[in-house]
Subunit: 460 residues, 2 copies
């Protein structure tokens, strides 16, 4: 490994230049005008990978934007790692807020600034450069690697499931590595081992057929806004638990070791709270803030509306009101089950004098990594070697549906080894990549391949 | 009275023609472009009244639109009645919905159609024609009458209080009669003896400084929409009582005789409910629908908003939410007192993790007529003579601020003797006046003057 690490150190500047060239391609997948750029981005990556004299390097068309596939299968008897990433990027609005243009990457303060530098081109490039560092020094990668880089992650990975199914044999592997997340904090190597799911419904409450005069009718009819408020209020008890019957049935309780591990993280609640602007933290009794946002389900109104919303006073008894209600789910809750339970419950608690209708808008399943599998120790060790610091397990409160898609399609342990930072502006103006993280990321990937190669067959 | 009543019958058609001429003047007070028409409307009425050879007929300028004042003081020793009305009208939008143009009055189905026919030119005209019927037959009106017809009722009677103060001596009277309301139902002579007041506040709930990702933060912070829902829900108990401390302190309980009287009215709850489109009636336990909307205070959300309101799903934890909350008040609740109690209570029940701010938007005092005063029996009798049916007491759930303004300024009993119908489209397209009501209204006014003249001095 010494020659590989030395190569990574020696080529640090060139690697950044090559990443910069790729970031210049404005591969915005949500904008039809940029479809040709998404294709150019795939071709740019394919050209770079072909230079590494691997086996197959292919551009896989989809019904939408193309993916890139490459493999290095020169380690017979060794495990196969499937690395997932994406080469499409978010839109850039609002453009005036960018300090330097999104597709003219610039280095400032030890960071590379530009759209896609961290989400996700930089993180894909980390693997490409780790592979190159083996190829150009010892001649081959010590494990078998398959790389799948899709072009539609920012538009919901709409064709990923099809791609995984059609290329199931091409993509067969022992382990999956996804590099598209952030580290717990600056300089803290982190493996993300849990993601929450989502069940999102909209509830409509209808009373009178039109807005009525609040004087002539007020007091004689149930007001749909008051009714909706009453229904929503009843969905939590005083301790912040959710009252929907059966809501917690499938929730895996936090184990003591998980709680200890979460409690050991350098989480500064004061700083976190200050960053939100809220006057106080609040949540389910009996859990810490990190437990609440990572490992406990929630029920939040994302929006509510009803009646008069203009300036000043209008005296009406509104005809209707509605709210968008989102539940974040944890393993093993299922979105369809929770949406049904919530919908049934909302119907049941509807007060007299209104009609209630519930629509399911959106769902996603939660993910929990099988951290008792030995590959997680391997990844921790590799990550720690590069960063010189112990690797922590963390979770994300948000939902990343494609992780569950890949995990379910492959049935293999999934390593969420991310090199971003929590404040990296991934979907905002002035996205940046910490160049030290990028450099240590390449070393992390190299150590991961090396460690995996030494994993005994019974550890797969 | 026989000759007076005969005159009213004989001139039925001419009276309608004269009203029609006045309705042609488009005296829309809210539209600056019609200011000259409001003035023309005042002059039109003054000309008609001067023809009745009364004493003073004057146009009183205000800071806005002019009022008309006239008096017939030819009954020494007899009571003086102050009649209030207004000659300005509502706007006419949406114009295409009018079957015949709003300022080209037309007769169809025994009704006169046009803007202002019932609100309030027709009702003012009823008094003018009753006065004329005395003048042209017996030579003089049997009581002393003062008529004040303002030009700004539809824009909130903005200068009425000033007018009443500046002309306090001119307007001194024993009783006040306001003809600007509707009857309980078709053919049912009705005196309105109660109006509700209003306290209208807006409550703002602030959490994080911007909308946050509902995955990354959901569960760790109080959600302002959920918090607002909880606060609003808690403002009613299960029986529909309002839980704001001190809210009912000043509420006059319904007396048994009032409840009996309300229960005796021909109210068809099925029809009423069908007209609203709501699936069921609902309200404070222990009260009937009419009691709830006439004589009990309410707390209704007129509007609520917060978070994402577009199509589909957006996964945010909203930064803020707000609601417009209107309380209808009953005697002797005071708007300032209720707004303060509600605001203080909302602050007190704010859950942790949000900041709450309350603004008072609007207020109005309730009115309850002193129905034990003998003048109410006089009015009932007069009204019944004209309509051939017993006069009922009713209330209005809405608020008519100028009634309380006049009642407070004069300190005299106020007779709300209206000739409209509940479905007369007063503020909508196709406003209409029942011509039978108009005709019997003139007789009612004539009988009222006659009865009042016979009221013994101790009855004033």
């Amino acid at each position: 490994m010494d020659s590989v690490i030395a190569f990574i150190d020696a080529n640090r500047g060139r690697f950044v230049e090559e990443l910069t060239a790729w970031v210049r391609v404005p591969s915005i997948s949500s904008d039809a005008a940029h479809a040709v750029d998404v294709r150019r981005s795939a071709e740019h990556l394919a050209v770079e990978l072909r230079a590494l004299s691997a086996g197959r390097v292919e551009i896989w068309p989809t019904a939408g934007h193309p993916a890139v596939f490459a493999e290095w299968m020169q380690a017979p008897g060794k495990p196969t790692l499937l690395v997932y990433g994406h080469h499409d990027v978010q839109p850039v609005d609002p453009l005036p807020e960018w300090i330097t243009p999104p597709f003219e990457p610039a280095v400032r303060e030890g960071r590379l600034w530009g759209r896609g530098v961290v989400d996700d081109k930089g993180q894909v490039h980390i693997h490409a450069k780790a592979i190159e560092s083996f190829v150009r020094t010892v001649g081959r990668v010590p494990v078998n690697i398959k790389l799948i880089v899709e072009g539609e992650e920012e538009i919901g990975s709409v064709n990923l499931e099809t791609l995984l199914r059609e290329h199931a044999a091409d993509l067969a592997a022992d382990f999956v590595c996804v590099s598209d997340t952030a580290m717990f904090g600056r300089g803290i190597p982190s493996l993300c081992v849990g993601l929450r799911g989502l069940a999102y419904v909209e509830v409509f409450v209808d009373g009178p057929s039109t807005d009525l005069h609040s004087g002539s009718f007020g007091g004689g009819l149930m007001n749909p806004v008051n009714a909706l408020a009453k229904m929503i209020a009843s969905l939590h008890d005083e301790a912040g638990h959710i009252t929907v019957p059966g809501f917690y049935d499938a929730v895996l309780p936090l184990r003591d070791d998980e709680r200890r591990q979460i409690a050991s993280l350098p989480f500064h609640e004061d700083e976190w709270l200050r960053s939100t602007g809220a006057p106080a933290a609040w949540g389910e009794a009996g859990y810490s803030t990190l437990e609440r946002i990572w490992a406990r389900p929630t029920l939040d109104c994302c929006g509510i509306q009803g009646g008069f919303q203009g300036e000043g006073a209008k005296t009406i008894l509104p005809a209707r009101a509605s709210a968008k209600v989102s539940c974040r789910l944890v393993p093993d809750q299922e979105p369809e089950d929770i949406a049904r339970k919530l919908g049934d419950h909302l119907q049941r608690i509807a007060p007299p004098g209104v009609r209630v209708r519930v629509e399911t808008l959106h769902g996603g399943r939660p993910y929990l990594a099988p951290t008792d599998h030995p590959v997680y120790d391997v990844a921790k060790r590799a990550f720690s070697k590069a960063f010189g610091r112990e690797t922590v397990f963390m979770r994300e409160g948000g939902s990343i549906p494609f992780v569950r898609t890949i995990a379910d399609a492959t049935g293999k342990p999934c390593l969420l080894m991310g090199f971003g930072q929590p404040d990296e502006n991934a979907h905002a103006p002035n996205e940046w990549l910490d160049l030290e993280n990028y450099h240590l990321g390449i070393k992390s990937a190299a150590y991961l391949y090396d460690e995996l190669a030494r994993l005994p067959p019974e550890g797969r």
